[in-house]
C-alpha cells in the first residue's frame, strides 16, 4: 500500500517548485499542489507508480498549465493582469531580472495559449530538465512523438514571443 504521508513529505518540495515556477501566486500553487497529489492518487490506483519524482513533476506541470489557461482566460475576460512575484533583491542585475521576469511572464502566457500536450512537453524538457525520452515515458507517448510535440511547441511559442526577438527588431529597425 502506498505511504502517501511519506510521498507528500518527500516529494512535496519538487511539486511545489514546479507549481510556483508556472503559477507564481502562492495560493494558486497551493491549489495546484493539492490537485497534483489527488491526481497521483487516482493514477496510483490505476497502476503502480515506479518513478514518483517524474510522475509528480508531470502531474504538477499538467495541473499548473490547466490553471494558467483558466487564469489567462479569466484575465482576458476581466482585463486584469496576473500578479508576479516581487523581484529578487539578490539578483546581480535588476535590469536583467526585469527582462527575465517579463520574458517569464510572456512565456507563461504563451504556454497557456498553445496546445496543452505541446505545452506540457516543453515544460518537462525545457524547464524541468527531462530528456525527450523521459518526457515521452511520463506522457505515455513514443520518443518520436515527444520530439515532434516539442518541435511544434517551440515553433508556436517562438511565434508568440516574437516581440522579444532582438534579431527581428534589429532587422526592422536598422535596415528598413
Amino acid at each position: 500500500m502506498t505511504d502517501w504521508d511519506a510521498i507528500v513529505r518527500e516529494f512535496g518540495p519538487v511539486v511545489w517548485r514546479t507549481a510556483c515556477r508556472l503559477l507564481t501566486r502562492e495560493a494558486d500553487a497551493a491549489d495546484c499542489f493539492q490537485r497534483t497529489f489527488l491526481s497521483a492518487v487516482e493514477l496510483d490506483a490505476a497502476e503502480p507508480v515506479r518513478n514518483w519524482p517524474a510522475i509528480l513533476k508531470r502531474l504538477a506541470t499538467a495541473r499548473a498549465l490547466e490553471q494558467l489557461r483558466s487564469r489567462y482566460r479569466e484575465s482576458r475576460r476581466a482585463a486584469e493582469f496576473p500578479d508576479e512575484l516581487p523581484a529578487d533583491p539578490t539578483a546581480p542585475d535588476p535590469l536583467d531580472l526585469a527582462c527575465g521576469g517579463e520574458l517569464a511572464h510572456a512565456l507563461r502566457q504563451a504556454l497557456s495559449a498553445i496546445d496543452a500536450q505541446q505545452a506540457e512537453v516543453f515544460c518537462l524538457v525545457c524547464v524541468e530538465g527531462f530528456t525527450n525520452a523521459e518526457a515521452a515515458v511520463a506522457l505515455g507517448v513514443t520518443a518520436n512523438h515527444a520530439g515532434v510535440l516539442l518541435h511544434r511547441a517551440r515553433a508556436a511559442l517562438r511565434e508568440r514571443l516574437r516581440a522579444f526577438d532582438p534579431s527581428r527588431e534589429h532587422f526592422s529597425g536598422g535596415h528598413s
Partner: protein, 295 residues
C-alpha cells in the same frame, strides 16, 4: 566582422525558459499545506470508487458554496417573497422586517446538479454561525463568519480540520445590505400547493446575477404563520470538469423542513474538536469553485 556581429543572437525562447527555471520560488510547501494535502488524500482514499470520489468532491465543493454563500441568500430570498396578505409591496416590506428579526433558521437542502447524484445536507444558521452537515451525518462544516474560524469534522476518520476563512471568500453578503438590495422586488403569486401537510401559497421570484444570468426562486409560504415551508432555486453553477476546465451546468437547490427562530444548542456551533477526534490545522478552502460573480 564586428564584435557585435560575432555574438550569436540570443534565442528569446531559451531566455524565457531560463527565466522560468530561475524564477524565485517562495519557501514551501508549508507544514499546513502538507498536512491538508495528506488529509485530502486520505479523504479521497476513504471512497471505494475513484471516479465517484472525484464526483463527490466536486459535489462537496458546490455544496460548500451552496452552504456558506447561499445560506444567507436563502434568508434574503425569503425576505423578498414573504407574504402576509394585503398588497404585494406592503407584504414585501413586512417580510423584510420579519426576516431582519429572525435570529436563527434550520433547514434541509437538496442539491441536484446535472450529471451528479443529488446530495442532501442539513443546515443550521444562528447569526453569523453556521453548521452544515451531510445528510448521513458523516461530515460537518462549522463556521463563525465573525471570527472567520471554521472546523471541518470527518466522523469516519475522527478528524477535525481547523481553518481560517480568508476574507472575501465563502462569506455571505451582509444580511442588511442584501435586504436593502431586494427592496422594491415583488414575488409573483403562482398558486397554492400542499407541502408536507401544509396548504402553502407558492410564489415566484427571479433574481438577476451581477455578472449576467439569473436565479429563479419558488417559495411556498404558510399563510397562517408567514414563514416559508419550502424554497427552490434553479440556475447555473460553475463545475470543474475532469480535464480541469470549468463548465456552467444547471442546478436545482431545494430547501424545506424549515425551523425558523429555532433555539439551537450551543454545541451545534462549537469550534472545538469533539472528544476522540484528531486535530489538524489546514488551509481553507483547499479547492473551491464559485460561480461567476461570487468570487
Amino acid at each position: 566582422m564586428s564584435d557585435q556581429n560575432s555574438k550569436p543572437t540570443p534565442d528569446p525562447l531559451d531566455q524565457a525558459a531560463g527565466a522560468l527555471r530561475e524564477a524565485p520560488i517562495p519557501a514551501g510547501p508549508s507544514p499546513e499545506l502538507t498536512a491538508a494535502t495528506v488529509a485530502a488524500i486520505h479523504n479521497r482514499l476513504a471512497g471505494a470508487v475513484p471516479v465517484e470520489q472525484v464526483r463527490r468532491e466536486r459535489r462537496r465543493r458546490i455544496m460548500r458554496y451552496a452552504s456558506f454563500t447561499t445560506a444567507a441568500a436563502v434568508i434574503l430570498g425569503t425576505a423578498g417573497v414573504l407574504w402576509f396578505g394585503g398588497s404585494s409591496a406592503a407584504a414585501f416590506q413586512k417580510a423584510i422586517e420579519k426576516a431582519r428579526r429572525a435570529e436563527s433558521v434550520g433547514y434541509t437542502q437538496r442539491l441536484a446538479v446535472e450529471g451528479i447524484p443529488e446530495q442532501v445536507e442539513i443546515a443550521r444558521i444562528r447569526g453569523e454561525e453556521f453548521r452544515i452537515e451531510d445528510g448521513d451525518g458523516t461530515r460537518a462544516r462549522i463556521a463563525n463568519l465573525r471570527t472567520r474560524k471554521a472546523v471541518f469534522l470527518d466522523a469516519d476518520r475522527k478528524l477535525a480540520q481547523f481553518v481560517d476563512l480568508p476574507a472575501g471568500r465563502e462569506a455571505p453578503p451582509g444580511l442588511l445590505e442584501g435586504l436593502n438590495k431586494l427592496a422594491g422586488q415583488d414575488g409573483e403569486k403562482v398558486g397554492d400547493e400542499d407541502v408536507a401537510g401544509t396548504r402553502a401559497t407558492k410564489f415566484k421570484l427571479k433574481r438577476e446575477e451581477p455578472k449576467g444570468g439569473a436565479e429563479e426562486w419558488f417559495v411556498w409560504i404558510d399563510p397562517k404563520t408567514g414563514w416559508p415551508v419550502k424554497m427552490q432555486s434553479t440556475g447555473k453553477v460553475a463545475l470543474t470538469q475532469e480535464n480541469g476546465q470549468e463548465k456552467m451546468v444547471p442546478y436545482t437547490l431545494t430547501l424545506d423542513k424549515f425551523e425558523w427562530n429555532a433555539k439551537f444548542e450551543d454545541k451545534f456551533f462549537s469550534l472545538d474538536a469533539p472528544a476522540g477526534y484528531k486535530s489538524v490545522k489546514g488551509i481553507a478552502p483547499p479547492v473551491i469553485d464559485l460561480p461567476e460573480g461570487k468570487k
